[in-house]
Symmetry: none
Subunit: 212 residues, 4 copies
């Protein structure tokens, strides 16, 4: 299993691809990618197995689709209900709280995609190309902008490092609890979701306002 997607020249092809992507999305909510069979995807998309192989060279070629889905959902969320209106007057802490709340929302809703994306970013880094990097690059850009906006509150000396860490933390802190709840490191947490979100916002805040 390796390599990539096949180009879709015709309109029908595009539809076929879309249906497969939708099928993958649906199945991913139920079980890990490794447990999903091609036959299952074909059936969910109401296609034949052969038709699947016409669009995708092999099973691995679906892995980038996971990232595609992730990306698409994230974009939609960020420009929709997940949009964070930053009020400079309200201060950094408030902005972080809003941002963490939005991140939490997204994770709760699209966690299954994030989970799969994370897993395969690690398992098969060769298959995802630059999507992942690009995604995080954008995030870092936003982080830099935000930190600049609250330049007076932020005490970190190295602005570049700060925006890197900010991105890292944002993509790391809420994941464990949001995705695995009772399992994983989150078992120690008995506090409510609200307090948890507040706590990670404070964590970010604490990092930024602590001089090194």
């Amino acid at each position: 299993m390796s390599q990539g997607t096949k180009p879709a020249r015709q309109e029908r092809s595009r539809q076929t691809r879309d249906r497969l992507v939708a099928a993958l999305d649906t199945r991913l909510r139920e079980k890990p990618f490794a447990d999903i069979t091609i036959a299952e995807l074909a059936q969910a998309a109401d296609l034949s197995v052969g038709a699947v192989y016409r669009r995708f060279e092999n099973k691995d070629a679906f892995i980038p689709v996971i990232f595609e889905l992730y990306s698409t959902r994230l974009d939609a969320f960020m420009s929709g209900e997940g949009r964070v209106e930053v009020d400079p007057a309200a201060g950094l802490r408030s902005a972080l709280h809003k941002a963490c709340g939005a991140a939490w929302q997204f994770l709760v809703r699209h966690g299954y995609l994030v989970r799969a994306a994370h897993l395969y970013a690690r398992l098969r880094p060769d298959l995802i190309g630059d999507d992942w990097e690009e995604l995080l690059g954008q995030a870092r850009q936003s982080a830099a902008t935000l930190l600049e906006l609250f330049g007076d509150e932020v005490k970190r000396r190295d602005a570049d490092e700060a925006s890197q860490m900010f991105t890292y933390l944002m993509n790391t802190l809420p994941i464990e609890r949001a995705l695995y709840r009772e399992e994983g490191a989150a078992v120690v947490l008995t506090i409510s979701d609200e307090r948890f979100v507040a706590a990670i916002a404070d964590t970010l805040y604490g990092y930024l306002v602590t001089a090194d």
Copy 2:
């Protein structure tokens, strides 16, 4: 696939088990558990397939062994070179720095175990029993002790919540970078390991000294 280990009546049995555990440890450095076959383990342990099944009911019965290994290594590390000498006079920040450094060391060395443990704690929570919870319970205990020691510096109102979050952060912050380096969320990080460790120590510190 499910359930447990079989009792060993003879001394030889014990050895066989040990060899299988060692074989698992070795293979786990190379690839995920799901990709390791029983035949492979047997060969690595210089045994026949049947001998494996005399010690382990089925493949799943190896999953608890991952945690066993993790636990054992962690204990050894913590009472050996990983031991953190807290100097009350040096302050909280210094203590956190040391702790993060130790955690980092452990992860760099035994990351493959932590990785597998994390994965299966999520994938097959039914198979690990209370080991996981126990492990984190102990960690939280230590956290509580530490925070008490630096009670004057810590500004969090709820001490219980603080020790929970401290444990969560400690088990969450360094993982991503230590385990997946170039892949995952850590791609954004261009800073050195040293600075990274310092940064997460600061993150913890920031959280604790920020009043809510």
Copy 3:
């Protein structure tokens, strides 16, 4: 191992199934079902192992096929050379003699199927559904008709019980000798097949004309 057959969408599928059924029929003449492997069936049908599993969910799914074969052969036999022309004028004894002769013929020819069917009707009654019961129900129906035809000769008080017993005896008496010849209870028999058939016809006759 359990459950059923898979639907065949294409004509080729049907052929594949037929070939597997034929392969089973062939192998069953040589050895018990338990000793026949899937690989063996595949080879006999000139197919791959995977192709077998596309038609049959698992090995157990072949068990109903045994009954299917039995049923089919029986129907064919009964409406062909096995047809028994009852001559009311010739009397009950003659009719029974003909019927026993036909049953004997069938058993000699298709004994291997009857043997397997009997075995699995007992070993895995869950897998055969109502086929078995239905088959015997029909037999009983025929029995009732026959007994009615010779109502004056039959001395049994309870006609219902008589037709039940008749069916039971018909399906029990010849089996042992026909199927296992030298082995089983038939070792005591040194008489010829002809005399044996006559004897069981007489046994049935004796039962029916003996008043209770």
Copy 4:
């Protein structure tokens, strides 16, 4: 798997053998011989696997034991509670009724042995030697004696054939219902056990008193 038992020279050996025989008896009540493993027998007899192989060359060597058990039980039954007191004055029909009643009792109680014995008499006739034949030979002897006793009632011309058939019928008629109840040919029977026993006695009677 083939061949035979090993001689038991010592007292301890004899005990070991007895325990294995008892273990086989116990397990046979639960499941078919083919499904019983050597390890299971060893455990049930509180022996090691090696010890089993010291007494029995291989698994097949247990098959004759099935017949041994059958034989032993039958002897015990026939000279105990199963003893049939024939009253010449009461007539043939009464004697047959008693005999069928006894046979039924035995089958109900030791059916699992009869079942296994029948199966392996057919599956592996090579392994049972003459035990089987001998057993039936004795039965036939008894039959001959009985028929002679009621020589005036019996109308069969060939006494030899009659005793053969009598033995065959006795070992054939009740089996199906006694051993397989709901499954097999007995599904057609809705009558009670008592009536069934009476019916097969009548069947035997009918055969004997019907002139050929």
